[in-house]
Symmetry: C2
Subunit: 417 residues, 2 copies
Amino acid sequence: MGEARKTSNTHRVSRRAMLQAGIGAALALPTAARGKEEDLVPEAMRVPGVPASPYGMPSRFEDKAVRLLTPLSTISPGTGSARTPLHLLDGIITPSGLHYERHHNGVPDIDPARHILLVHGMVREPLEFSMEALLRYPRTSRLAFLECAGNSGANAAQEPPQTSVDLIHGLVSCSEWTGVPLKLLLDEAAIVDGAEWLLIEGGDASALSRSIPLAEAYKYGMLALYQNGERLRPEQGYPVRFFMPGWEGSLNVKWLRRIKLTRQPTFTKEETSKYTQLQPDGVARQFDFVMGVKSVILSPSVGMRLPEKGFYQISGLAWSGHGRVRDVKITTDGGNSWSQAELEEPVLPQCLVRFRFGWHWDGGPTVLQSLATDEGGHMQPTHSAWKAQYAPGQGYHYNAIQSWRVEADGVVKNVHA
Amino acid sequence: MGEARKTSNTHRVSRRAMLQAGIGAALALPTAARGKEEDLVPEAMRVPGVPASPYGMPSRFEDKAVRLLTPLSTISPGTGSARTPLHLLDGIITPSGLHYERHHNGVPDIDPARHILLVHGMVREPLEFSMEALLRYPRTSRLAFLECAGNSGANAAQEPPQTSVDLIHGLVSCSEWTGVPLKLLLDEAAIVDGAEWLLIEGGDASALSRSIPLAEAYKYGMLALYQNGERLRPEQGYPVRFFMPGWEGSLNVKWLRRIKLTRQPTFTKEETSKYTQLQPDGVARQFDFVMGVKSVILSPSVGMRLPEKGFYQISGLAWSGHGRVRDVKITTDGGNSWSQAELEEPVLPQCLVRFRFGWHWDGGPTVLQSLATDEGGHMQPTHSAWKAQYAPGQGYHYNAIQSWRVEADGVVKNVHA
């Protein structure tokens, strides 16, 4: 296909075609300019392709779709995070290779044949589970998001960051998780009276550990063994992680090695020095587990430039740790008017939902926002309402409405509206 | 963790623990045999782990979870298939790296900046779509299975193959597909009266092409651009494939380059020499598009051996090209009695459904079967009822009930029951 006939998305919009399409899109080119028929057979059709492969990878032309790495320690290279490139994805599933990461001392290399899960503390019979044994227990599956408590925290700053939607909101991902219900193991070990908390500890070099109330963990906790069909990836906790749908990421302890039943919380460093939120009165919120209702428009978003006025499909993600997203409203005029976005099926509890909304941009400056409400009636706060809940400098559990300003030249900016 | 304390799944089942667990599983070991505390800290916790990575891969300990390659031509290495290792997966999502493949002349290497999709034939305005332009059209997402018409055909043989469930049934996979509704492009090109079929052609060296009725393609056809969140993999049709949920795999033309509107079917070689089914009266079924209702127990399945009598979770997949799976019944006594399996949510149209069923094996020989019915009332036939529909040697659209015989020693065989 010769360069001369390459189509382009800067093709002027034809009014007639816009009306025909009903959507205002008319980005195709008529074929009038095409040349000799033999020129139309592309190179790829003239040579046999490569055979099937044991394990596939993305196209070499998609090498920008990678996680964005943020090392957080010069002493320990394994401490840091990696964000999902949300704006390059579509749908609700995050491919496992692009699921966000947050490690406190790197990803351990664990041989499942040597890994043991211990259930002990306030139980009648402390038990050890080999991975071979654990894989024989009944399993269950569910689609659910996972979000770091620190996700979107960059937006808590006075000046909204002009980076990318991935760097601001990319510590959330969504997978199908499959594993053994925690309650099966707890029943087998036989909980003794008075146990009300669990200590959950990872088998990494940080021994990351968190305290979780027994009642909720018993109901909803899972020992996740599979992610998106296949066994967990190393960076997601292989060979087994704790999974608690809708609760903050760090509770979903990776490389799970120990569950101890206790009377009270253990007050580990990850729930005292970190993962608490200081309020204006100087008292910190602790054990604030559930990730609030949130939504974010991914396209368009900060750092992009709309090439011309005309039709755009606004597209983004919404989620709530409390349950299902009930609706997502969109404004394309800075809050003067709101419309319902279309939610793609299935809309599942504690799962990402893809929303879409058709928009004609008239070429003038404006502000775009999305506002999610969940089935429990929780609604995203404005930036200033969110800020009022906390002392300055706090950033955990940021879930305020995201505002994108579209300038007259099509450039999209991050604003606190 | 010392070798001496390694737990094992051959641990004898304790009656008390079985009762406690309610599920009969009691595979954990008591911790009584454990040694000094310092021995309990595994190696992985004594050294920092590796940092986050741009694109993740499975654990090195999971190197058996790969596609099973079957080259079909000594002349053309790109011609063949690769099956999904279903029995090593769980849930409904197939990771894109393990999605089945079937190529007729290999996987082309296509630069999206040079790829053009042509819509022509019986339209008022033939159009060319660059990938850049196509990516600006409204998109929609759905979870759906994709199945090769030849899947499970090995079971049509007189002697049931004693291979593996993957080699028999592994030409089905399930993804979240996101793309542009076909109707948007057809409306823009403006269909002329009398057009009733589409010719859909791929940009690979086999120029794979199929005819599809316009009415259904207009309603349900999608130009898929994303699979499981990210852009299509090369072996799944990058940069764009046709997607028709529930219809036989080869219609979902990869590397899509041309859609031609026609009055009648084109009768390409993929719908004359292949993908037709000869009936006993010598007349072939042609254009038999929809993949019928089917189910298969993946665990246990042929080639496995149950290590001991006791509790097993029977687990498998069901699907129907006609719509939603309504129910899956299980027999563990060769058809004397049937029970409902549990279907994991969400149960979606033209999508894999994971079913599960708790089973106590008493150690005697028996036959396991699953029987799926869809919302349209379609039900899987028996092996002999399926065979009666076709001439000898036919194998496309095989969807009969799969029977696994469990021998007294726990070995699982494939049988025509």
